[in-house]
Structure formats: structure tokens, C-alpha cells
Symmetry: C2
Subunit: 277 residues, 2 copies
Amino acid sequence: MKTVSTLFDLRTARLSFNGTVGLVPTMGYLHEGHLSLIRQAKAECEHVFVSIFVNPTQFGANEDLSKYPRDLERDLSLIEPLGVDVVWNPTPEIMYPAGYQTWVEVDALTHPLEGAIRAGHFKGVTTVVAKLFNAVQPHKAYFGQKDAQQAAVIRQMVRDLNFPLEVVVCPIIREADGLAMSSRNKYLEGADRAAAVVLSRALNAAKKEYEGGERSAEALRRKMKEVIEAEPRAQLQYVSCADYDSLEELEVVKGKTLLSMAVILGKTRLIDNFVLG
Amino acid sequence: MKTVSTLFDLRTARLSFNGTVGLVPTMGYLHEGHLSLIRQAKAECEHVFVSIFVNPTQFGANEDLSKYPRDLERDLSLIEPLGVDVVWNPTPEIMYPAGYQTWVEVDALTHPLEGAIRAGHFKGVTTVVAKLFNAVQPHKAYFGQKDAQQAAVIRQMVRDLNFPLEVVVCPIIREADGLAMSSRNKYLEGADRAAAVVLSRALNAAKKEYEGGERSAEALRRKMKEVIEAEPRAQLQYVSCADYDSLEELEVVKGKTLLSMAVILGKTRLIDNFVLG
């Protein structure tokens, strides 16, 4: 396994491979969710690249960029046994040198949900992902369903900008109690960690209603809201029952549907989702 | 020479080539300027792709999209003898299908000069060029110095977004009297065609002052303005004496410098430029 930092070293490493290449973009502090993406890339591609880059442009001014957890040594030791070919770990100065001024933006899909709360977040995501795609030139790129809107936005960007690659979205990996894995779970302390199960519980409750025949999107949103509001430590940001592709809020559930939510516990913001249909 | 329209056919054609590929993006209605780009691509690359696409997103609401000159048959007959491998001639629906919503934007470099007058123009240019790059995956891409700001903006985009290709900018090709070749010259009628020589005359006058030792950017701008204003048919939009890379207006000329201007003659808007230093 080779670890590179500069664009030149990354390109040199890339040119040494002729077979299919899978890219797993990450911000590091890897958990089982990331590792499942890497394993799937390894199963589907001849060569696997993992990028580790805490991308400053996708953090808002009042967000946790400086406090975002980092542990490169631990990350590398987790990746090493999986048969990854190249780890790309650029600095912010490599990705955004002085005079940097180009941005990639997806429009409608970035307006609701996370986009409505985290101004500029997706502009940072699509820009860095476009840069990663151009630098690595993968045949397939792997993202987690945990960030459902991000996956939808990147699929749209790839289609719109003719990127010659396939976006593969892999299932959410959960802790034993149902909490979706996230690098930010590390911030959860004591009672907040226990209360964090309320997200998957709310999604499960709505799913159960759906399976019982409920097709009113408002009823499903109300159900999720009820469960969250019954947890006194949880502060609800949004619940959504939206079309899987357009992310527009539904009135009646039909076809592939995304249940999603954002909840604050203590100082930690958590998101989770289920796909129906 | 193969002519393709769909993205699928373009990709299939692209996959049949293993050697270096040069791309010449055009809006058609080819003149000697375009042909010089194709010849240079042919001299430097094993395979040459030419795209012909009148890109709607780079025209403003009050600009000449519907009247922009088109003649595909003539274009193909001009390209055929040059040894081009593939001509890509997509429809607007192929490039911007229903639901299209992704944009590439370069910031500071697009603010002055053309960007200040043609709102949204460069957003359309960078978006379509990013799409062309991703679809064709060229090793080199050829642009004319005639659109000096466009060339600077695309160089910046390529650098910022890590596109794995080289931007080659080729010299302006001029008519015998000095008028820079442009598809829009077709619009010039009678006395306006004769008067159009005023752009290169103004640039030459400023260049002569520079060669005589003048280093005040304001003096060079004033000189160009004087020459344009002496032509009663010409309506000046801007004259500029700017840093070649940043396009910022200079006080003192030193290093590579761009003299440029936009002038309206009748209903036709013309641009031209010279590089000093």
C-alpha cells in the first residue's frame, strides 16, 4: 500500500495501473461504514484508491472543521489489511492553493434537507469530489447511503457533467443498538450516546406504519417527529418523507421514498435515513 | 472521419483510440482560426476530436443564440481534409437533458471585461467545457487566443479542478486588413466591415506606444480609446490593459500584459486583443 500526498505523486501512482480503479473518498477517522465501502470496491475493481481529506470547503463557518476527529495512523492501520493500493492524503494547500477560485454546484437537489441548514455544504462537497474524480480517474466511486442527499447530489453531478464513472452507493452500517455509524458519534457522551438510538427508532416506527399500509407522507413525518420529541435530550432539526430521486417532500408515498432526519444531541448533530419501496 | 451525436456513440468512438487525443471545442461556423487549432491538434496528437455545439447556456437572454450562424455541412467539408478522427455534434437535449442542474463556475477571473458585460456567459462556458472534457477525456484541448479571457478562465478551471489535460492556446488568425477572424464577422455589413479594422488599429497604436517605451497602462488605454472614438461607426464597450494571468487592470505595465477591447459596430459586437511582454 502506497501513501501519497501531492497531485504529482498521486498521478504517477495512478498511471502505474491499467485495470479498473475504484475510489473511496473519505474524511478519515474511519469506521466500519468506510471499511464496508473499501471492501466493496476491492470486490468490484482491480485497484482501490482511498482518499483521506478533511475538506474545509464543506464545513460552514460555525461548524466543526477544526474539531473534526483526525487519526491518520489509525486510519492507515485499518486500511492496510484490506488490500488498498493507494491512499491519497493531500493537504488543504494541495487541494486549494493560493488563487483557487473554481466551484462545482448542483442546484435544486441541494436546496432541501441538509442543504437548507448547512449553507454552502454541498458546494464544498461537489467541488472536492469533482477534484478527486479528475485526479484519480476512477471507474467506480463508492459513497455511503448514510449521507443520502450527498449520494443523490453526486449521482446528479456525475450524470450532468458526463463524468465517465459509476457511482456506487453502499448500505448504512449500524451499531448493535441501531445507531448509524458516523465519525461524529465519537462526540456523543454518556446519556447522549444512549439517546442517539432515537433516530433509528423513529425511522423504524415510520417504516412499521408504512408496512402496515400507511401512505400519507405527512403521517409518516408526524410519526418520526413524535418519537424524536418523546426523547427529552433530542432536538429535532427536520424530518422528511421525500421522493428518493428529486428529494421533494411527498404528500402520498409511492415508489422509492427517502425517510430522513437531522437531530441534535448535546453538541452533536446526527443524521439518519431509511429507504422505502 | 466519424460524426457522432449521442454521448454513447462519442464514448464508443473514444474507447477505440489508445493514443493521445486532442480536442478542439467549437460552436461551428468554422473559419481559418478554428482550422488553425485543428491543424495544431493534428500536429501534436495521435487523434483529433472536434466538437461542434452552439452552447445555449453561454448566451445571455438578450444575445444572439437563435441567430448564431450555423452550417454543419460546410463545417464538415472544411474539417474532412484535415484528418480529424471524430466530430461530436450533440443536440442541446443531449447536453442539457430535463432536470439538468449542475454548474461549474470560476470566480474572480470571470468578473472583469467580458464577464462584466455578459452576465452568466462564463458560467455557461466553463460548464460546457467541463462536460466536453469529461466526455472526450482529451490529453490536450485547443482554444483560440482571440477569446483571451475565456482561455484564462479555462486554464484556471483546469488547474483548480485537476483536469488531467493540457490547455493549448493558439494565436489569433486575422483577415488581410487585420480584423480578427470570428464567426460573428458574418454579421458585418458594408461600411461596418470596413470600419471593423479599427479594433486591430487601436491595438497596434497602443502596441507602438509600448514599443516606444510607454509603461503607463492608463496611457495605453487612452490611446486605444482615442483610435476607437475617432471611428464614428464604432461604439466602445471597454478597453483594458491588464495583467495577463489575473486580468486585473494595471497602473504600470510590467511582465506579460493583455490589451483587449470590445466594440459594437451596427448590431455586431466584436472583441480583439494583443499580448505585450
